[in-house]
């Protein structure tokens, strides 16, 4: 099914156009550069909304397909298309990018370079979610890394260089596994193809050994991105050192690429592999949930706490992915990806807002902030509640779907992972209490100012979406339904 004009290319390359425009701007004109970035990411978002409008919800077939020869010698194609799992991710990416750009207005160091890198990053992220060719996918996957490295390494906190190199090398390490896996599949397929859809058709015909081997390699690559315990240690460093906007993007979009990759590539393509590895994957997920929650509890730095909570929350996704036979679990996984993107994105944003004003993130340094900053506190408490899975917020729907989907397959493991809910409540409430409640130190924090309109505006869409999905998840459910049901069918081959 194709479309009258190459909408996907427009979406993916619109940030690149913005990048070109910014390159021609005077580097001293900070506000022009900012507004141009806002404009182009806004246009990108509008285009994704157009995509949503014209998307056919009833089918799992790829839509808006664009296919051109790219490197004929390799049979690599410029092949893009979207289905029910990439459309939500595109929307999430374009929205979060816009918000991150708006929240980056307080960057004053080398503004031009910052936004150039940021738009390149956005292009890479969008590209990953629409690519249907392995080479193209890999290309976008790597394109993203470079700006990320600079964004953390130049604009980050005190240990930014360490964090940036760690992130870069760790992810690159994973990418190499992915490349090997892609090559194995490429040479195993006859005729050689890099087309993901073709490969999905061919997948089950590969021998057990190949499937298990490539599955494991893909899994390492994606698991580092997610990150799955025990590959997670780059995450706290990168999140903590990165500037606010980049933390948002890291948490909201980059982590989702791991799970997206699993849902798009390894799961439906290599059914033998998932069957072979499903139990270990669930175990890793359960460990991540409990372990992430406990480690969060011990954190003294607000941002690090949120970072470890990400580890814990992504653990739910792994539990869901392990229960591959259940469409409920996979839907829960998608819900969790989106809701974690919204909630943790907002949490990082709000922590950044506080850090801008207080210049510290140490939990013990605060207390009673709720008295001085009621609006900020209300927002933070709301997202904290969303993060601990309060019903009426998106996090609850996703956790519930995951539990209900995975429980029949792994009653004991899911039973253990439910404990994570209480632990999450415990560390979140501890944080809320120690930062916002209690006696207010007027001498120390009397000068704090309330969250401003721009920041409220940036966080408002996240809050509204969190509530909307939490109260009425049906639209999102319908959007993904056909695709997820198809994926479950593919895995049953």
């Amino acid at each position: 099914m194709s479309y009258s004009y190459p909408l996907l290319s427009y979406i993916v390359f619109m940030p690149l156009l913005g990048l070109l425009v910014i390159l021609f701007l005077n580097k001293e004109k900070h506000s022009t550069i900012r507004w141009v970035s806002v404009f182009f990411s806004f246009v990108t978002m509008i285009l994704t909304l157009i995509l949503l409008k014209d998307y056919n919800w009833t089918t799992h077939e790829m839509q808006f397909v664009e296919m051109h020869q790219w490197i004929p010698a390799l049979n690599a194609q410029y092949f893009m298309g979207v289905d029910g799992i990439s459309v939500p991710m595109l929307l999430l990416t374009s929205l979060l990018s816009l918000i991150a750009i708006v929240i980056s207005f307080n960057i004053t160091k080398r503004v031009k370079e910052y936004f150039v890198f940021f738009l390149l990053l956005e292009c890479g992220m969008l590209g990953v979610f629409v690519s249907l060719d392995f080479l193209l996918f890999y290309f976008f996957w790597e394109v993203m890394l470079v700006p990320m490295y600079f964004l953390i390494g130049v604009w980050g906190g005190a240990r930014r260089e360490y964090a940036a190199i760690k992130f870069f090398l760790y992810t690159l390490f994973g990418s190499i596994f992915m490349l090997v896996a892609i090559l194995v599949l490429y040479f195993a397929s006859e005729p050689h193809t890099l087309n993901m859809l073709e490969m999905t058709k061919l997948g089950p015909s590969f021998s057990h050994g190949i499937q298990v081997f490539t599955f494991a390699f893909f899994f390492i690559a994606f698991a580092i991105k997610v990150p799955v315990w025990p590959f997670h240690t780059w995450l706290p460093d990168a999140h903590v050192e990165a500037p606010t906007a980049i933390s948002i993007i890291l948490a909201a979009v980059l982590l989702k690429m791991g799970t997206y990759g699993m849902l798009r590539i390894s799961w439906p393509m290599l059914p033998e592999g998932i069957r072979y590895f499903s139990v270990p994957i669930v175990i890793l997920g359960v460990i991540a949930i409990i372990y992430g929650a406990l480690v969060s509890m011990a954190q003294k730095d607000l941002k690090k706490l949120v970072a470890y909570s990400s580890v814990s929350h992504m653990g739910y996704c792994m539990v869901a992915l392990g229960a591959y036979t259940s469409v409920k679990a996979l839907a829960g996984c998608m819900f969790q990806m989106i809701s974690h993107g919204l909630i943790t994105g907002a949490m990082f944003l709000l922590v950044g807002v506080l850090y801008d004003r207080a210049h510290t993130r140490e939990i013990a340094a605060f207390g009673g902030i709720g008295k001085k900053l009621p609006v900020y506190t209300a927002l933070m408490v709301m997202f904290s509640m969303a993060s601990l899975g309060l019903p009426g917020m998106s996090g609850f729907i996703s956790e519930f779907m995951i539990f209900i989907g995975a429980f029949p397959s792994y009653p004991i493991l899911v039973g253990i992972s439910i404990l994570g809910v209480v632990l999450t409540a415990a560390y979140i409430l501890r944080m809320v209490q120690r930062v916002f409640l209690g006696e207010f130190d007027t001498a120390k924090w009397g000068g704090l100012t309330e969250i401003n309109a721009r920041e409220v505006l940036a966080v408002a869409p996240l809050g509204l979406l969190t509530l909307f999905i939490g109260i009425y998840p049906k639209p999102l459910n319908e959007l993904m339904r056909a695709t997820l049901e198809n994926i479950v069918m593919l895995m049953a081959r």
Partner: protein, 656 residues
Amino acid sequence: MLNNTFIIPLLPLFAFIVIVFFTRWKEKLSAGISISMTAIGWVLSIITMIQVVTHQGEHAVRIEQAFDIINFTGFRLELGTLLDPLTAVMLIVVTTVALMVQIYSLGYMHGDPRFSRYYAYLSLFTFSMLGLVVANNFFEIFIFWELVGLTSYLLIGFWFEKKSASDAGKKAFITTKVGDLGFLLGLLIMGMTLGTFNYGEVFGLVEAGAISGGLLTLMAIGIFCGAVGKSAQFPLHVWLPDAMEGPTPVSALIHAATMVAAGVFLVARCMTIFIASPEAAMTVAWIGLITAFMAASIALVQNDIKRVLAYSTLSQLGYMIMALGLAGFTAGTFHLMTHAFFKALLFLGAGSVIHAVHTNNIQEMGGLSSKMKTTAMTFIIASLSISGIFPLSGFWSKDEIIASAHNHPFFMVIALLVAFMTAFYMFRLCFLTFFGAPRDQEKYDHAHESPKSMTMPLVFLAVLSVCAGWVGIPWLKHGFSSVVYHGHPHHVEANILLMIISSLVAVSGIALAYLMYYKKSISAEAMGRRFQPIYKLLYNKYYIDEIYDAVIIQPIYWTARSLWRFDAGIIDGLVNLHATVTIWLSKVKYWIDVYIVDGIVNGLGLVTGAASSVLRLIQSGRLAHYLLVILFGLIVIGFLASSNLLNWAFLEVGIH
């Protein structure tokens, strides 16, 4: 009204949204909106109740409406409303108490800097509680279940500057969350085995035997765990006494009348499941009994007026749970209703007292009846009611509960003992607070009757505390039991003997309190000294908080800290070790490079350098020289080409 039940919960939600976004700067307006919305809800609830009662038909009213929110092949989640007699009763209870508490709060919270926020929270709570009541499936009830927990957290920690308040909020939230885990597990089992959460479908399947044996028991106990957490039953009761840190009207609404009764409501809703699983029902009864007894015994010795009431609440909830466990559906729900009224009254009365003397300690009060006539009168009425004195409402409902244990002598004996203790500690409270000589003259002098906005709800609730029970008088033809029943309506037989016994027990409890605290003919101190170990045990609430802290909380913190060290040290250490090894390896390679590989290369470089220092003389840097050489070269090539010494194909182009 029967088809539009959903409006009732939405009214307070509307109030919440309006207050938060529009009127939070205007305190009076915010309160007005909140109260008027609840009042409308109250009127609508009464209309609903009348329609339910006058409904003609073979079966009781049962109206269900729902819409999907998640829909996969073979799996649906929905939101909806279910209206049946139980719902109608709960609607009345919740809206009545909420309305009274909101009016009362006008006076009690007067001058608080977060007045509007208080009303917003109350509205949100009312919404959640009404939503919980009208839910038509387990998924939805779970949603509202957690939402009431949230509002409870917010309201307990309303004065969050106080560390004890925010601690109490956190404790309440997490403790109930532990119970909710069980609830969630029960739901998961339900989802796995039955594939639906709708009440009607679930109960139908359970009755048809679609699930049985261990799984059924596990599911029932799981659901009951939710009730244990929310209704603060043993062993998750520890949060409720601490929750008294919240404003007193909140304690009245949430922690006495409505939210804590949600557990009872849930068990009542799931009666079918518990009937199908006798083991689970027995567990329920035992938990209820233990809680009732334990809480009543603790209440005997507490000195904080609100804590005494809190333990009393625990004990009464234990009563209801026990009745439900013994299949006394009507008894449990009936007591739920009457208890809501008189316990709300007790709390509001206590609030009025605290408002007057600014202390919670009953040892610092005394003789207040002369200064606060209305409060004292209503408080004593409520005390009589809870003690079970004829013909107040507590008498009828408590009697039914004790009657429901008629097949289990042990339960009945303990229940009577609890009734005795209840009467004793309630009147200990009354005598210490309102009678005798003032023990703190200064506080006594400042005491005064509360404003009208506070006393009016007291009077109203006092009337209800007297009369609400009359709907359940066994001799009535169309009483409570003919409307709210499980399975088939059964007429409660009046058991005159039991009535007399329980009345005697109550009166003797009051008499003992009278002797000890009014007449002082039996010295309370002497009793305390004589039973020193028991006294200490009770005074320290059986040391359960301390045990939890040592056995659960500290180990969790310890695990968290050690895991964090493990994470930073070992896991991240491995990553960094890998980096270090790589760097070390590369240093080795660097050495090899510099001294061996590069040695050769440098040798070559040296030779090249020497040669070029000679050749560089050619470089004059002048364009003209270079061009000359170029031209020379060009000409030489041209000649070579033309003389066929070089046979380059490209020079042949055009030649034929």
